[in-house]
Structures are given as C-alpha cells and as structure tokens.
C-alpha cells in the first residue's frame, strides 16, 4: 500500500501443500536495500529461487554500476527476468514497494510473466487476492501516515487471509519511510 511519504508491504506466513501446512513462519518478504522491499506469492520453490536470483542480479548491479538500484529499475529487472521464462514461467507473482531516489513512494505488482501493474493506491497478489481487493478497496485512503498505513494494511491482511483456507498463520508487515523501516509480526488465527 502507498501512503504519505511511506509504503507498506505485508505477507502471510503459511507455507503448505494443499491442505497440509508445512510451515507457519515462511518468509515471503525480501529486502533489496534500505529503500526497496518485495514480496513473492505463489509456488514455494519459485519464491525462494527467484529471491536468490534477484539477490544475484542486484549484487552484480551494485558491483558493476557502483550505485544502489532504484525501485523502478528493480521493478523492470523483475519484469524482464519473469518474461525470459514466458513459455515455462516461474509460478510466483511479485509485489514491489519502495522509495525512489527522491524518497517518493512507489508500489507495483506483476503477474507471473512480468506484466507490471503500476498502482497509485494498493496492489495485491496470492490465493487471497480477491479478498484482499475487497478489504483494500474498503479500508484504503490516500495520504495515510506510517502508523495509520500500518493499521490499515494489517486489518486488510488479517480479514482477507481469514477468509482463505490456504492463507494465514499471522502476517509479516514492513513499513518503510525515508528515516526508518519497521518490521512487525502479527498474530493471527492459527488455522
């Protein structure tokens, strides 16, 4: 979600194979640097492999270009990487949030083959995406401050994932402003 000079990203913590739950603290949010975070929803192995791939690519970028990657540039890098596998894709749909070089908030999401959705308000992916669309549409308003944004995104996440059998076991929420990054873990229904 986009706020006033801040962005927030949240994921659930469940990893399972259909009805069988395998982990209740699966990491789906990853940091590129202080100003860019991304989340990956979808097939567990692709979530992990893609995050390793992006670490590789962003480390190489930093070494070659001698500068930090910008959030829009990173988004396009993710898009290109996904589209390379157009006919045998990674089953993961990313959400990217961050602050650009002027500390202006930026959010976007992508489908599994790299189509970027540049949003002004909020972006959602995953098995509970339809529930999330409903919750975000109802709760989000523009120019929320960091603390209010946290409340909003957390409420949206909890309510939406409670209505989805394959999502839940709490949430990881990260709020990014130009001065600090706050990571919180929410306790949710353990089912």
């Amino acid at each position: 979600m986009r706020g006033k000079d801040c962005v927030a990203i949240a994921t659930d913590r469940r990893f399972g194979v259909q009805a069988l739950g395998l982990s209740t603290e699966f990491q789906k949010i990853f940091a590129v640097n202080d100003k860019i975070y991304y989340g990956l929803a979808g097939l567990g192995t692709d979530v992990q492999t893609l995050s390793e791939k992006f670490t590789f690519k962003t480390n190489m970028y930093k070494l070659n270009e001698d500068r930090e990657i910008g959030v829009r540039t990173f988004a396009h890098l993710v898009s290109s990487t996904l589209y390379e596998k157009r006919f045998g894709p990674y089953y993961a749909e990313p959400v990217i949030v961050g602050l650009d070089k002027h500390n202006a908030p930026f959010i976007c999401s992508m489908d599994l083959i790299g189509c970027i959705n540049f949003a002004e308000d909020f972006v959602v992916t995953g098995t509970a995406s339809e529930q999330l669309y409903g919750m975000c549409e109802a709760l989000w308003e523009p120019n929320l401050e960091a603390d209010d944004l946290f409340e909003t995104i957390s409420q949206a996440m909890m309510s939406a994932t409670n209505r989805d059998a394959l999502s839940g076991w709490g949430a990881n929420v990260v709020v990014i402003t130009k001065d600090k990054i706050i990571t919180r873990t929410l306790k949710g229904r353990a089912d």
């Binding site: 070659n64 270009e65 500068r67 829009r72 540039t73 396009h76 890098l77 290109s80």
Partner: protein, 249 residues
C-alpha cells in the same frame, strides 16, 4: 583444412607483446585525428571528415555516431571496423534498456565495447579492430569521456586526441585545457586543436562535432520536471559548426 587456421593471430611474442595489437595501434595512428574534451557540464568530440576526392557525396559519411540517447562516439582508424563496433554498441545499449528500462551509464557501455574488442584479441581466426574510439556520454554521475583501444583497454580522459596528429594535439591540449570550461569554450578549443593537423580546408562540411550534455527532463505528459536533468548526445548541425568556425577565423 579450415581448422589448421583456427589458431589465434594474437599470440605472445617472446618479449611479452601481442604484436597484432601493436600493428592495430599503428593502423589507428594512420587514421584521421579525433579529439575529445571534457567541459563543465558536457563532453565535446570532434574530427575531420576527409573525403578522398571532391566528387564524394560527403553527406553520406558520418564519423561521429550516436549510440544511445546520452552517448556518442568518434573513431580514428578503419571506418568499417568502427561501423561494426557502433552497431554492437547500439545493440548493447538497447539490450540494457530492455532489462532496466533506463539508458546505460557511460562506463557500463564502455566496458561492454571494450570487452567486445578484447574478445577479438583472444579468439581464433580473427584480427583485432583497427580503431580507437572516443566515447562521450552524460549520465547520473556526470559527463564522461573514455578512449577505448584495439586491445580492449579503456581510459577516462579530461581531454585527449587519437590518430595521426595525436602527439601534437595532446601537447596543445595540455596547454589549452582548463577544468570546468563552458561547452562553447570547449568546442572552440577542440576546433583549434584539430586545426593544427587539419589536412583539407576547414569548413562546416569537413568538421564534425558531437556534444554530450544535459537537458531538462520532460515527463510523459510533456511537462518540464524541475531540477531533473537527463543526458543527451547530439551532433551539431552544419549551420552551428559554421558559427563556431566563424569565431576562429
């Protein structure tokens, strides 16, 4: 029969030199002089467009080439070899853009071109490129001028010259170069540097000048974005060259 000739022409001599590269540099030093100068907020590159005869249609020749929005280059040496490198450089810039949706920084492109040139010093059945390039560009870290040699080495310069008259030209530049010159002064200095070794008459159709500088960023709606600058490379029109030449007359 063909595989008997797939050994590399660039094999080391006992003294530790790669003779083919030395000879490639000799080919470069027979080429028309090119100069490059770093100004306060831009780079000037310039060269003489020498035609072998007055019957040549010189509007068809262009020694200064634009590689991407913000990068251009000029060469000294064998024209056809330069053409190949220009094509490869342009393609490399677009490939970068396709991944990152932004223009490549100058050094990244220079490293790509240098890497291509180095490939041809360590492969079978090929010869090194017979050109040195002066690559000029403007990116987020400022204006940059690089020279790339047939060996694949690259150097960053404040002012330099390559080709036939490079020694005299560099001596001239050492005296005349000043840090943070304005672009107009740098163009003026570049023309004076070329004048020393100019082989024909200096007119607007025999002098080519390219400038890498910064312009205001215009967003997708056509509105100027305050405080944002974007790198651009452009070749001067003949009318603009004519004005500069009038000043040195």
């Amino acid at each position: 029969m063909a595989d008997r000739y797939s050994f590399s022409l660039t094999t080391f001599s006992p003294s530790g030199k790669l003779v083919q590269i030395e000879y490639a540099l000799a080919a470069v030093n027979q080429g028309i002089t090119s100069v490059g100068i770093k100004a306060r907020n831009g780079i000037i590159i310039a060269t003489e467009k020498k035609s072998s005869s007055s019957l040549v249609d010189d509007t068809s020749i262009s020694k200064i080439s634009k590689i991407s929005k913000n990068i251009g280059l000029v060469y000294s040496g064998m024209g056809p070899d330069a053409r190949v490198l220009v094509d490869r450089a342009r393609k490399s810039a677009q490939a970068y853009k396709q991944v990152y949706n932004e223009e490549p920084p100058v050094l990244i492109l220079v490293k790509e071109v240098a890497s291509i040139m180095q490939d041809f010093t360590q492969s079978g059945g090929v010869r090194p490129f017979g050109v040195s390039l002066l690559i000029a560009g403007s990116d987020d870290s400022g204006p940059h001028l690089y020279q790339v040699d047939p060996s694949g080495s690259y150097f960053s310069w404040k002012a330099t010259a390559i080709g036939k008259n490079m020694i005299n030209a560099k001596t001239f530049l050492e005296k005349r170069f000043a840090e943070k010159m304005e672009i107009e002064d740098a163009v003026h200095t570049a023309i004076l540097t070329l004048k020393e070794g100019f082989e024909g008459a200096m007119t607007e159709s025999t002098v080519e000048i390219g400038i890498a500088t910064f312009e205001d960023l215009i967003d997708s709606k056509g509105v100027k974005v305050d405080g944002e600058l974007v790198g651009v490379f452009k070749k001067l029109e003949e009318s603009e060259v004519k004005d500069y030449l009038a000043n040195i007359a």
